[in-house]
Amino acid sequence: MLKMTHITKVFRTDVVETHALRDFSLHVAEGEFVTVTGPSGCGKTTFLNIAGLLETASGGQYLLDGEDVSALNDYQRARMRNQKIGFIFQSFNLMPDLNLFDNVDVPLRYRGVKAAERKERVERALDAVGLLSRKKHLPAQLSGGQQQRVAIARALVGEPRFLLADEPTGNLDSNTAEGVMELLHEINNNGTTIIMVTHDVVLASRSARNIQILDGRIIDDRRAQQKAA
């Protein structure tokens, strides 16, 4: 599914050079649920952004679904994001002017799905997160937990095979976070590969696989029942 070999990422500004990722190699198989942990600034978000084609690596090779993404242009990368990848952000990032329906609708618009099918899929996705009855509401009218569930619906409406979540529970209290985690596990059980960055050690310890990053490198890759790869 995802295969990174010797990936590096360097941020250059006039004064400093930050090595956000160094010699980063990782293989994630289809259907896995991987949590990523590490101290602040170690490169977790950078890794997700590269994995999600929002950022390009400075070096190394990245194969997504067997395809070398470094050769893709902006249009092809956008298409790949749209069709294969779902994103969930710590701060939800819903669009404030759009109601819930229209928020969830966005990925399907970019895919050019017909109106009738869009309606059906958006409603199904909202139903799955228990918010169908509020489809006309604006994000600001919802609680944080509800907003994150809308964001999940939006990430899932296009039925991506690959879900990237950057601290999806970071802004939620533990009860709400629990609900969101259940939802993610359910999604994973349906076959979607998930990579989730988290600060929560308890959540990490419960996942089937946890990788730990320090200073842009993987320092631990632990699977729950098996030995490290």
Partner: protein
Amino acid sequence: MFFYYVRLALLSYRRNPVLSSLMVLAVAVGIGAYMVIFTMNYYMGGDPIPQKSDQLHHIQFDYGNPDIPNFEPPPQLTWIDATAMLEQTTAYPRTATSKFVAIIEPPGNEVRPFFVNGRGNSADFFSMFDVPFQYGSGWDRSADVNRDLVVVLSNELNERLFGGRDSTGETLVMHGMNFTVTGVMDRWQPAPKFYDVNNGSFDPVEEAYIPWELIISQELNRSGSTNCWQAPEGTGLQAFLNAECAWIQFWVELPDADARSDYSMLVDNYVAEQRSLGRMRMPVEQRLFNVNEWMIEQEVHPDETRILGALAGMLLAVCLLNTVGLLLSKFLGKAGEIGVRQALGAHRGSLFIQHLIEAGVIGAIGGVLGIGVAALGLEGIKVLIGSLLITEWMRLDLTVMALTIALAIVSTIIAGLYPIWRACNINPSVHLKSQ
């Protein structure tokens, strides 16, 4: 997708209404001011008789006095030359024409006698200039020759004298003589008033039209400009008529290039003949001018409109620069949303179109408002200069309104290009991290 983007643009307008309204206002003021000047130039610079402007020709003779330095040859004709040209050939429609004023004595005692501005012209005048008639028609060439007392009325004068009814065949007393009405014109106001640009190119048309020869034979009061470059020999009317004084406009209709070269030869021969008599000693470069050439030669379009045009252009530029800044801050304020859209599958092209349409929608709203600004501006100008010239042609027709909106959209999009480019090149990852 187009309507989706239009909807997004409207939602985005609503999100920061103050900023958006400022942009709309900037566009409206800039475009509105520009369109006021444009409308003025459009009509003042327009072709007053497009279907015939290349067939109607005015004659310029080699008039002047070599002893007077910097003497510009007067554009009108002397009586000698006008009558000669009328007689040279009748193969082409032609008219000598000049203005007069006269007193009309209305029938009955209700209305007091009043002055009218009149025009003497040859029979062909009406067909040459496509003058529209409400009732009746002009007169024919025999009336010119016979000095018949016939008159064509403007529809305002017909309203005043006959209450707007069909007055053909009725008589009216003008200059103490009985004139028979042959026709009543429909509303007619060429702008510029191309057939007589020496006497106010945007003046109203005359109210009464009679055979031109009557001005002399009945000794009516001539009016309009007169240029003399040699003192008359003797006194009295005949001396004035024979003098080097130009006061008559002369037009001929030449349907094609052959006719033009034919007539041009005729004019050249006439000039050569007159030269041998010691007249026409100031050579001119061109003797036949069609309507548009004549408008340029006579500098009908006032310089002021050009200066105003430049000022309006500058105002528009300032307003658009302002719009660039406002759009930039608006689009960069949406960096987070742009990042999310990229994550969800928007490529640069689709972001570009989305923001192009957003700028276009602002431009369109600004354009609609700009029509209002332009309409107000034109009303203001009419109040300012309405007493100096005819301004009824200064109005916003559909063409001008469509142009206003189109110009508003196009210029807002141009103003938006840099902000749009910046918006599309926002690095999504930076803005997604956290808020």
